[in-house]
């Protein structure tokens, strides 16, 4: 079962790449050749369709990670790499989970689902599929709570992240002044 416990060895890389075939292979191949396990990887085109953004969570010590980001930078289709510190990033993950839900326990499960602000996407005679989004830790907790009912299938997207927006104190002051 996937766990997204954010240990000290976890790093989040946000990699902007050219949106061309083979780029994913070049990037993932580089990790593989250096013996790094990718914990999760999410990739999709950005607002500019010439580029894609990959969010890669990787398990590595800092020194080898520095080497691998330098090597990544050498790939021609890689435009930009940022390491996102968890405190300075907005992180989300999406999960679909199908859980056994016989009629007598179904209401317990839907109650849990509502506590986690998730959505029921599909209902069968004895199972339901729930969609939940949030920080990886929230997804872990939800899995823990569903475990006793019997998880049939589960798919997580892997983490996606963007840097937190810089605070602009000057503007905030302006707002405050107006309030006064």
């Amino acid at each position: 079962m996937a766990t997204s416990e954010m240990s000290g060895k976890h790093h989040i890389l946000s990699v902007l790449v050219e949106n061309k075939f083979g780029v994913l292979t070049r990037v993932s191949g580089l990790f593989a050749r250096r013996g790094f396990n990718i914990v999760s990887l999410a990739v999709s085109p950005t607002e500019d369709e010439r580029f894609s953004r990959m969010t890669i969570v990787v398990d590595a010590e800092s020194a080898p990670l520095e080497q691998i980001t330098k090597q990544l930078n050498k790939l021609i289709p890689v435009i930009k790499i940022a390491e996102l510190h968890p405190d300075e990033a907005v992180e989300r993950e999406l999960m679909l989970v199908t859980v056994k839900a016989a009629p007598e326990v179904r209401s317990q499960i839907t109650e849990l689902a509502s506590i986690f602000q998730s959505r029921i996407d599909d209902v069968g005679h004895d199972a339901i599929t729930i969609q939940v989004a949030g920080a990886p830790q929230k997804l872990d907790a939800f899995i823990d709570l569903l475990q006793p009912y019997g998880i049939v299938e589960l798919q997580r997207t892997g983490l996606i992240a963007l840097p937190k927006l810089a605070r602009r104190p000057a503007k905030l002051r302006a707002v405050k002044n107006r309030a006064v």
């Binding site: 790449v17 050219e18 083979g22 292979t25 070049r26 191949g29 050749r33 520095e66 080497q67 330098k70 090597q71 930078n73 050498k74 790939l75 021609i76 289709p77 890689v78 435009i79």
Partner: protein, 580 residues
Amino acid sequence: MQLTGAQALIKSLEMEQTEVMFGLPGGAILPVYDPLIDSSIRHILVRHEQGAGHMAEGYAHATGRPGVAMVTSGPAATNVVTPLADAYMDSVPFVCITGQVPYSVIGTDAFQEVDTVGITMPITKHNWLITDANDIPRVVREAFHVATTGRPGPVLIDMPKDVANQTMTWHWPDSVDLPGYKPNMKGHPKQIKDAARLMGEARRPVFYVGGGILKARAAEALRELVESTGIPVVTTLMARGAFPDDHPLCLGMPGMHGNYTAITAMQESDLLIALGSRFDDRVTGKLDGFAPDAKIIHVDIDPAELGKVRRPDVPIVGDCRLVIEELVKAVRAEKNKAEKGGAAWPALDAWIAQLREWQERYPLHYEQVEDGPLKPQFVIDALRDNTPDDTILASGVGQHQMWAAQRWQFNHPYTWINSGGLGTMGFAVPAAIGAKVGRPDRMVWAVDGDGCFQMTAQELVTASAERIPVKIAILNNAYLGMVRQWQELFYEERYSEVYLSPDLPDYVKWAEAMGCVAFRVDTPDDVETTIQKANEVDDRPVVIDFRTDYREKVYPMVAAGTTNSEVILDPAHDRPGGRD
């Protein structure tokens, strides 16, 4: 103008000033070989695709221009994998074009189909699969740009047969647009200043010069920097010739088979100024014991080299030539400042005296007994002394390579061509041919081993057919000599699968069958006269089969897993009166 993809490819190569390409046609690349007939590009038909790759490398080493090779799909593509890997390790600008099965059938296990782009991804700087003939000019332009700029390296263009036959509208791009590729050329001014200051403070500094100097065409700039500081230089295997061996500040080659002074100078140094070198394991020996007191200034165009092996105190990302030119200015400023205060800058007299003492005490050593077996070192020395000063020397990989690198006097850049990082046996013959094609004005010799020679000798047929007069000296000791040396020293003289025989094959007959002039030399007396005879041949290749002493080993040696403080000198020195 409407062209086929094949015509566009050839025209694009012409636009990139390709004067020669090395290759061998086949099914998938057939369409491209047709317009080649009408092209200004000289094509050299090789006998094996590996030869085409190494020739392109030899050409690039000797001229500084990118080497170009063209082969077909499948087995031809896999045959150029070795040269691509070799060029990747040694940062050689090399553009390789492979044919591919038609795009419409890729993925169907078609005849001679192989995933060339996938196979060569980890051993090229970049590669392209062309899916539309209209992309050809742009891709060729990008390929040459990537191969020759930044840290140079091999690139590959995979050309499906149907794309070669597709009609396209010719257009040549004005510029290259690669948003993810911007080599950082200029060093950071503050780092350069810091480097100059450290150079003034050091008491035992050494320039640790690598192949990057040659790639950056920085040999002249380096000489100026060395002479304005008085700091001695070691030139690695890839950098032999980057600084002249006849210069008093040149200490020669460091590393596993370097000379005692070069190895020990680095080991005892308090400041290593690494210029276009990469702290290769053959140079550092056991890493945690390497140059323990040395601060490190590391200049390289590839940011990934800085801190990869040894963390530098002053990292400088930039082109070696540009950085060195800035360093010269910074050094002059520091020097003026110090000398106004009446101080020597830097104060190196004691260090230089120490180095001179080591040089005197521990020179390279071998003994040629008059009636004894022919020593390989004697052959190298004779070759060195009986060829022009600017002779280009190529070598294979093994003992002969180390003797050549140790003993040759490289007084000019781009005169030494060998396979350093990958250690590709069989490199010498095709690399020498490529070098001679690029520099027909120079004498080109290859020093080869008997084991190496047997791997790629068939390219001498190419050389004969094309009238490329390279000269090959085989140091024939009837063994895979370097492996034998390790088995003798580290495997209790248990010789496993290293014997080759001195006369199977008969190298003279073989060479003659390939259209070469050939000689055999067994005794020291015949060495010089035979070399002179070989030098006179200028219309075909020459091969000399030198029968050398199989017992001779390469010394000095730093054994694998030991530090550079544990140099094994030759046996003569290890006796009393030798090293303390």
